[in-house]
């Protein structure tokens, strides 16, 4: 039975699209790691609601001018690395796909980038205005789109593109011929991208698309029934898995009416046991289903680190552990990877639901109080519940048990992942011969 599952997963991973995606994600990992670390600095050290900002009392000793300057410096890194991640992804994916078929990878990558830029081109009021893009299509938020375009361009090169040149035998004549041979795939790509761009610019598709994730995330804040929260959490996790999640998103309870009512009650009565909205989705999610961001990635990282085996996965887990304990998990999603990896799909989607359900149940039994107190941005996941109850020790114990349970539940999937990786390891990738 198990070997059947492993075989199925291995077959899935040998599909050329998935091979191209996984190679691309490997290349993106260092970029997203640096992006996540910069994000951690911006949100946690330099934001007035940040964890380290308050713990280290940065406002006391750091002059405002310095603070502003540092904000610019670090925000520049996150904006370039995350908001233009799609461009990089598209290049690498087209490059890798073309290389599978021993086609000219460099021209394929360049063609991919131009295809994505054309698709994302935003029509202004008149054609004379400076260049402008639908930015959501270029960022990590649209990673799936960038990967698909890159793969498509790579396939086009397989069909029409020039062959790869071996470095040793290349002559000027070859280079010229090569450039001309790329003309066809480039032309076809341009025409297609123009059509897609036309479609995107004429409909309201973009507006709907670019707001879906944030709207869902905002909708998860207000509902007072646990069921809606479970559904929304499922939808968001699915989008994350497909590579459509916002890399820099950080879901905090907003000051909705219900949230304020709970907080006010707790402040007046000095305890949070009998707040008006005990099962408020946003605070339940934030306190108990948020160890390392969406999908309890911290539990996954710990499960990997505990498990003996594969070196590269351990290395990724060790590096991305630091941003992940402060709930900046995008580098883990890209590096392990979780994105488009069917092995982790089930726990990634459903474990948060299990956590919310258990937490709601334990709250109903009266074992832990509600969690209405404010929590700082970038508070380590396992401490959030404790802080949000103003230091209820029972909640701390409960959170630790929950985290332990999550790690245990992730372990079988980690084992499966290692088995699949072991099967894949000796398989050569596409046409990759030169190492």
């Amino acid at each position: 039975m198990q070997s059947k599952v492993v075989n199925l997963l291995v077959r899935f991973n040998r599909w050329s699209f998935i091979q191209a995606v996984r190679q691309t994600l490997v290349v993106l990992f260092p970029v997203t790691l640096i992006g996540s670390l910069a994000r951690l600095v911006v949100k946690s050290f330099l934001d007035a609601n940040g964890f380290f900002y308050n713990i280290l009392e940065i406002d006391v000793w750091l002059p405002l001018v310095w603070l502003r300057t540092l904000q610019f410096v670090f925000t520049s890194v996150t904006q370039i690395f995350f908001n233009l991640l799609g461009v990089l992804a598209c290049f690498v994916c087209a490059y890798n796909t073309a290389r599978f078929y021993r086609k000219d990878a460099q021209m394929a990558g360049v063609t991919g980038v131009f295809a994505l830029l054309l698709v994302a081109y935003r029509y202004g009021k008149n054609p004379q205005v400076p260049i402008n893009f639908h930015m959501a299509l270029l960022g990590g938020k649209s990673l799936l789109l960038a990967l698909l375009i890159g793969y498509g361009v790579g396939q086009l090169y397989r069909w029409k593109g020039p062959d790869q040149l071996a470095v040793k035998t290349v002559t000027w004549l070859n280079v010229r011929r090569q450039a001309f041979a790329s003309l066809w795939p480039l032309l076809i790509t341009t025409l297609l991208a123009m059509l897609v761009s036309l479609a995107i610019n004429s409909g309201s598709f973009y507006r709907v698309y670019s707001h879906t994730y944030t709207t869902l995330a905002a909708a998860g804040q207000e509902p007072r029934s646990v069921w809606t929260v479970l559904l929304l959490s499922l939808a968001l996790a699915t989008m994350d898995w497909f590579g459509l999640g916002v890399p820099s998103s950080y879901k905090m309870p907003l000051n909705t009416t219900a949230y304020m009512a709970n907080l006010n009650y707790a402040l007046v009565h000095g305890s949070s046991w009998h707040v008006p909205y005990k099962y408020l989705g946003s605070t339940l999610y934030n306190s108990f289903a948020n160890f390392g961001g969406d999908g309890l990635v911290l539990a996954l990282i710990v499960a990997i680190l505990l498990f003996p085996g594969n070196t590269s996965l351990h290395r990724v887990a060790r590096w991305s552990a630091l941003p992940t304990i402060f709930n900046f998990d995008y580098s883990s999603l890209v590096g392990l990877p979780v994105i488009l990896n069917p092995v982790f799909l089930l726990p990634f989607m459903f474990l948060p639901l299990v956590n919310i359900a258990i937490a709601a149940g334990v709250t109903a039994l009266g074992l832990i109080p509600a969690t209405p107190y404010p929590v700082l941005l970038g508070t380590p996941g396992p401490l959030i519940g404790f802080l949000a109850t103003n230091g209820n020790w029972g909640t701390l114990v409960f959170t630790m048990l929950l985290l332990f349970l999550d790690i245990m539940m992730y372990i079988p999937f980690v084992r499966l992942n290692f088995q699949v990786e072991a099967q894949l390891a000796p398989v050569t990738l596409g046409g990759e011969r030169d190492e």
């Binding site: 402040l267 594969n310 351990h314 404790f386």
Partner: protein
Amino acid sequence: MSKISKQVTRHSRRVLLALVVLIVLLAIPTYFWMKDANASLAAQRNSRMSPVIMIPGSSATMNRFNQLVEILNKQTDKKHSLLRLEVENNGKIKSSGWINRGDQEPIIVVGFENNRDGYQNIKKQTKMFNAAFELLSDKYNFNNFKAFGHSNGGLIWTLWLEKYYHQYAEQITIKRLMTLGTPYNFAETSIDQPTQMFSDLVKGRKKIPKNLDVYSVAGTESYDSDGLVPEQSVEAGKYIYQKQVNHYTTMTVTGSSAQHSSLPQNKQIVNLINHYLLDSTEPKPDPTSPDNGSN
């Protein structure tokens, strides 16, 4: 298990251990932050203090309203304590006077070392006032207050509401604002000649909180001026506040001591402050409360 993977496992376990230690080490200061932050949140939420914060006009000091408070305290049963702050040009804030224990409606006057006239100075004073306000809100934890500004003091309030108030809006409500002889358009007698400041204030009016009640009081000695500020310049406040705040009421005081500089000692005006600005001790029909002011 091969030797290499054993090594890897050991390395990973060390990282894991480091993470646990890091979280535990962070948990300690976090715990104290949490107790501290929630205690001050609760103190603010449960605070009963609702001070009146006053800003004097140009050339005046933090002692500008001493006489006013004296007259006010003679009139009312409730005695208001008086705290005076002065913001120096180097950013230091010195204080005199105090707030009596249990005084729920103290009067706090904020003056400035740089008390000169002119838009540039008013901008600076607004920034200085904000520093003082931050100090006050940290120290006294009030969740609502009333504002009073004489002459340019009213301009500082208006500018502060547009530029700085949003920092506090979630925790602190400004209930009422009374400006006295405030030249919204400086010395101009017509809004056809808007000053830079007036245009800026009109432009930023959307930032002024919608639930605020504003009273603009003018004094007249002749038929169109209090001797210094033209009545039209005081009236120009309507282009800033009207249709933005909950209520905008204008009043004109005439008679003796209606001259610009005497206004704060004018008995009529002390009555207005008592009646409109201060919280009432006994339930009195308030003509401007939102309940009966809706039509």
